[in-house]
């Protein structure tokens, strides 16, 4: 099978600091991948490179767009998003002053086809598209269990619900690949369990490839099929959860060396 995302020798330097160094990964369609590593290992930087927030210093990011290879390195974020690559944020970044429903609608921007003139003159295309947007957004909110709160301001939601809203907003992009940056951070065990279900459910329902950064090892070990481990910007291991659990480099990175 052709990988949907292939990263080749990706490097990012910030001045003298090498935040991501020579990372190569192959991600197959439909996989659920975990990306772990100690704090400051470069996990979020890697996400930022893959979603276009940063430009790589060197290396390639190849995305398989229905059989056509596309280079993502150096593209603007909104172009990368248009290929169907969505993400959530480690520190929640919702549009705070907008309602829950509007947050989801914003992310459907690229899929809405009417032009500005159609909107000004209220042509039928405007109404039909807006109705479709409304239905689709409501469906996604039901998926994450926030439909009942659709008219609240995003900033008033409790923390766990804000995280779920971020997932709904990312799904509104109609992604092929979904990056989740610490989706369980700050959640209690019950919420984490719900999240685990949600991640499984959306992957099957929307045929997603999911890559997640997470510090909650029980979550990672439970749901990820394959795990990549980063330390000081370098990839030190990859494999299934069992292999990672017993990998000496990983143990060393997390616990330090034996004396």
């Amino acid at each position: 099978m052709e990988p949907i995302l292939q990263v080749k020798n990706l490097t990012k330097n910030f001045g003298g600091l090498c935040a991501v160094s020579n990372v190569s990964m192959k991600i197959n369609p439909g996989e659920l991948i975990g990306l772990i590593g100690p704090n400051g290992a470069g996990k979020t930087t890697l996400f930022n490179l893959l979603t276009g927030v940063y430009e790589p210093s060197s290396g390639l990011i190849e995305f398989d767009n229905d059989g056509k290879k596309v280079q993502l390195g150096g593209l603007k974020p909104y172009k990368i998003t248009a290929y169907g690559i969505a993400r959530t944020f480690q520190n929640i970044r919702l549009f705070k002053t907008m309602t829950v429903l509007e947050n989801v609608k914003v992310a459907m921007h690229k899929n809405i086809r009417y032009g500005t003139l159609a909107a000004i003159f209220r042509l039928p295309s405007y109404y039909s598209e807006e109705q479709w947007v409304e239905e689709k957004a409501c469906e996604l909110l039901k998926e994450v269990g926030l439909y009942g709160k659709r008219n609240e301001q995003a900033t008033n939601l409790p923390y766990g619900e804000q995280r779920r809203l971020e997932i709904a907003r990312a799904l509104a992009i109609q992604p092929k690949i979904l990056f989740l940056d610490e989706p369980a951070a700050g959640m209690n065990p019950q919420e984490t369990a719900q999240l685990t279900d949600l991640i499984h459910r959306i992957r099957d329902k929307y045929n997603l490839t999911i890559i997640l950064i997470e510090h909650d090892m029980s979550l990672v070990m439970k749901i990820c099929e394959r795990i990549y481990v980063l330390d000081y910007g370098k990839l030190i291991a990859d494999g299934n959860p069992e292999e990672i659990r017993n990998n000496e480099f990983v143990i060393k990175a997390y616990l330090g060396e034996e004396i």
Partner: protein, 292 residues
């Protein structure tokens, strides 16, 4: 009483014009946190475009208004691309000073091309008047008011109900997150300038009709007053700019009617000082407290 009502009507027409200009200030501030001091001059150019199209090409009122909107809108976008875009991540003061520079460029280029003398505006609308009970309303005032109301409703619908409006609001809350949700931030900012500048273009032709005369420096004082209107309403808030504009217009007219026309500018600045002391966020400004 009848004089009061009469002044109220005069104030509303003047205030409508201020409100149209204030909207441009407030939208641009909302999205890129820049006080676009060149906005008053866009409005001046709107008046000139309408003057040229009606005097030399024989346009009637509505085609001239559309021409003003189009020319000002495009000009606003070009100014943003050339002057402000390179400074988007620079310090705010750099962009602010650039805005003042752009303002001078527009003023003196117009003066060079069109001459610095005051031009008399052609009569575009009938000067018929109606007497409604104790007050007299002119056809021009009805036009000014109706056009302003129409444009404000249209603007509210665009901002609240369309995808570009949603994108504008999203960019104003969190530009980086908006980018990653598939929004082209550059296009969205250009669109904001297009909307704001075309409204200023309408204000330009309306003021030409209202005062009958235009000159290249006419944008300075109304520009400042509209800016104050935007601050009064809460800068960044669209309904705030509308209310602020109407309020400033009425206040100014009332002072002229009951006080002295000497103080017509002073009252506006006094309002600015008061609002900054009493409620610096403006009438509808959000005083958001960080949740801890």
């Amino acid at each position: 009483m009848s004089q009061f009502l009469q002044q109220m009507i005069n104030g509303l027409s003047l205030g409508s014009i201020y409100a149209l200009i204030a909207l441009g200030y407030t939208m641009v501030y909302g999205i890129i946190k820049l006080i676009n001091f060149a906005h008053g001059d866009i409005y001046m150019l709107g008046a000139y475009v309408a003057f040229i199209t009606t005097t030399y090409f024989g346009f009637s009122f509505f085609p001239a208004m559309i021409a003003s909107m189009v020319v000002c809108g495009i000009l606003g976008v070009i100014i943003e691309r050339i002057a402000y875009k390179p400074l988007r991540h620079a310090t705010r003061i750099a962009a602010l000073i650039t805005a003042i520079g752009v303002s001078y460029v527009l003023e003196y280029t117009t003066q060079y091309v069109m001459g610095s003398e005051v031009k008399t505006y052609p009569t575009l609308l009938s000067s018929a008047t109606f007497t409604l009970g104790p007050v007299t309303v002119s056809m021009q005032q009805i036009y000014i008011f109706a056009i302003t109301i129409f444009l404000m409703i249209a603007l509210q619908l665009i901002i609240k109900k369309t995808k570009m409006g949603r994108a504008m609001r999203a960019v104003s809350v969190d530009e980086d997150a908006a980018k990653l949700m598939g929004i082209n931030v550059d296009t969205t900012i250009s669109f904001t300038f297009l909307l704001g500048s075309s409204l200023a273009g309408v204000a330009g032709i309306l003021v030409g009709i209202y005062y009958n005369s235009i000159d290249p420096l006419m944008g300075m004082v109304p520009g400042l007053k509209a800016f104050i209107a935007a601050v009064f309403g809460g800068i960044g808030s669209v309904p705030g700019a509308m209310i602020g504009g109407l309020f400033i217009g009425i206040a100014e007219t009332m002072v002229v009617a009951y006080g002295s026309s000497l103080y017509r500018d002073a009252i506006v600045y006094l309002i600015l000082i008061l609002i900054l002391i009493i409620k610096p966020d403006g009438l509808l400004g959000k005083n958001q407290r960080e949740k801890v």
